[in-house]
Symmetry: C3
Subunit: 288 residues, 3 copies
């Protein structure tokens, strides 16, 4: 793993991800709590537009982001349909040296599947809870997660201070992994990229390039099913970037995270062809 | 009151709330003006998605936020349908030691109703106006409010420097206060919490607990009227948090600000039952 | 020109504008890259809600903003439908001392038309590209623009280090310039101001005041055409600010940038009268 390069007393970025939206006071309340703990703390927004309660979307978004931030960055994820009920509140240290503060509800699925978890600690709520918040049961983002995350990010507590190590199973969300079989790759449409409408799959370039004869501008067969129902079937060019297909034409490309995507140049594939993403949306790609 | 702990020369957070949305240049222009005054100033967003001209929504959102921020934080509210006409531009000091820069148009309703105003000063626009802005009459957020707020937040002026004290009436928005009468609490549905669709009432836990026999999991009678028209009538369980009701089931709870709320677990109450919020939406809750 | 007042080693604001929206990880990834380059860098958002691929909107929004920021501020614009194809990646220095990092795709139209470009340098991608990003062709915002912009904003490179000077033509978007002819001003409806629905024209006050007899509260003739088709024709009062017209009444005013606007007081002109903005929308205003 990468050892966090800052010591106990240094200030690390605190990055927030929620499904609270941008209209209400919730996010600003969390930031106020963090700044009350330490006025020098530096707070950033990942996104607050995770679809309400959608832990799948949150897990993907977090996984796409953390690697680009300095090690020791503290991510606080508050997508928490089970708030106030029994569920583990944890801080995970990744092998890349990032911290993730979150309820244990599937958010870590892709990081765990990638073997990138270094350690998990359960937040000791008897020590790490906003004073006088014991009677509030619906906003642990404010009372536990940002409160503890801000103390960790600003070096007021160490990772060891968070609470005991946890070595049991964490909650994971199931989905069809990507695979290569008899010349064809298949996997899941993980999501639709907003606002462009591109399909994002879980098929990495390393699998794609096993398709015999793959090269820029070859035509590939694409099949998309929602469960067992065929929803799209076409041959599309494999190109270097959007602009190498004609305007308003569909194409296959490797996206900026190294995964296979389907898009329409200057258009919106998902809208045009009525395709969505998630566990039920499966894709196959092969040579024509 | 809480005496602001920073002295004249210290840097305090500057927090912006507007109805400008997030698409246009307005908010960035205000931030540029603030940073031109002092490049070290720390600017935060409360929200910019207040519904256009909706001072009621702005008043609620501000009231829900300020208490969580460090004392001496300067809030700048620009929801200003009367910009350029005669209306007072004021900076209010709350008893909690926070400053609020705003046109006097109802924004302070709930803070005033709570008896939490320490002092009000009228901005002396002859001294506190962006240079060369005299010919512009439609963006006082830029030319007066952020300009003066940034100077106050960065300690370039004191509160006394803002302008003369004001001891007259301020503009307040009327609404049905919460009350307990013959075993039943009643009040106003203050708003629908976006994006979850929870109803937020002005009935505090202190009133709710006067309902004889109130305890977790008892069933309560709920009646919602829009003016005099019945819009919803049901018995709902009173629970500790969303997850203690069945998924997609409605429930009553105490929200994270200590007020009574109505929600659907993992659902959207307002959408499902076509309920809105505001002065016209009244609610009664009592034992079945 | 204004000589940037900070030296090579100082930290200047880094301001981001994209069409990425606020839901996905893209913006946070860019910020993480910037903070990895320099953890002290100060990052601000102009907007991320530019309509997808809409360089016209981006050009207007940037032009409306830069003058309010401290000189030496570095703006990074990523509205980039041609990403990964051949198109110039440039950093422009304006006469006001601001830097703009962008693909050369029309973003600089209004700054160039205003004669406010001091110099243009082409980014030398052999030296200024995120390490190990050579195989990614769809996210130059991450791999080139923020990467180079962050180094410039934090003084790790000088403007001269960016790459060679460019003195050829840049890409510009065509539109009908404003003019005064026989007592009538005419120009383009540049855009609809979100969320208020005000029309923003390219007719400056300096042209408007050439209309004989112009004064507050006079009635002016307004004609709006979409190409050659008449879409609106009315006489409207010319007022100091929105509130000087009756509620829900249309009006003409000078907006906060010094240009002529059409609005409905406490209403939404564009929605009410079905008017849009862009190259095809032309307006004439004259004395009745």
């Amino acid at each position: 793993m990468i050892v966090p390069k800052y010591n106990k007393y240094s200030m690390n970025p605190l990055v927030l991800m929620t499904d609270f939206g941008l209209k209400e006071h919730f996010v600003a309340v969390m930031k106020g709590v963090a700044l009350t703990i330490n006025p020098e703390i530096k707070i950033y927004d990942l996104t607050h537009l995770i679809s309400p309660f959608n832990t799948w979307e949150a897990a993907l978004t977090l996984n796409n982001t953390i690697g680009y931030w300095p090690s020791s960055t503290v991510f606080v994820s508050v997508v928490d349909p089970g708030v106030g009920t029994e569920r583990r509140s944890i801080i995970t240290l990744t092998k890349s040296g990032h911290y993730i503060v979150t309820p244990d509800n599937g958010i870590l699925t892709f990081i765990a599947d990638g073997g990138r978890i270094e350690a998990i600690r359960v937040i000791d709520e008897t020590r790490h809870r906003r004073p006088e918040s014991e009677n509030y049961n619906t906003f642990h983002g404010r009372d536990i997660y940002i409160y503890t995350g801000a103390k960790l990010a600003s070096g007021m507590i160490t990772y060891e201070d968070v609470g005991p190590l946890y070595s049991g199973e964490i909650v994971k969300i199931g989905y069809q992994k990507a695979k290569f079989h008899k010349g064809v790759v298949q996997g899941t449409i993980m999501k639709i990229e907003y606002p462009f409408g591109n399909l994002v799959t879980n098929i990495p370039y390393e699998l794609m390039r096993q398709i015999p004869g793959l090269d820029y501008n070859v035509k590939l067969y694409v099949e998309i099913k929602e469960k067992s129902k065929l929803r799209y079937e076409e041959t599309l060019p494999y190109v270097r970037s959007y602009g190498f297909a004609a305007a308003q034409s569909p194409l296959i490309y490797i996206d900026s995270s190294g995964y296979t995507g389907i898009a329409v140049n200057k258009g919106n594939f998902a809208k045009q062809y009525q395709i969505a993403g998630g566990h039920d949306w499966l894709i196959k790609i092969g040579m024509v």
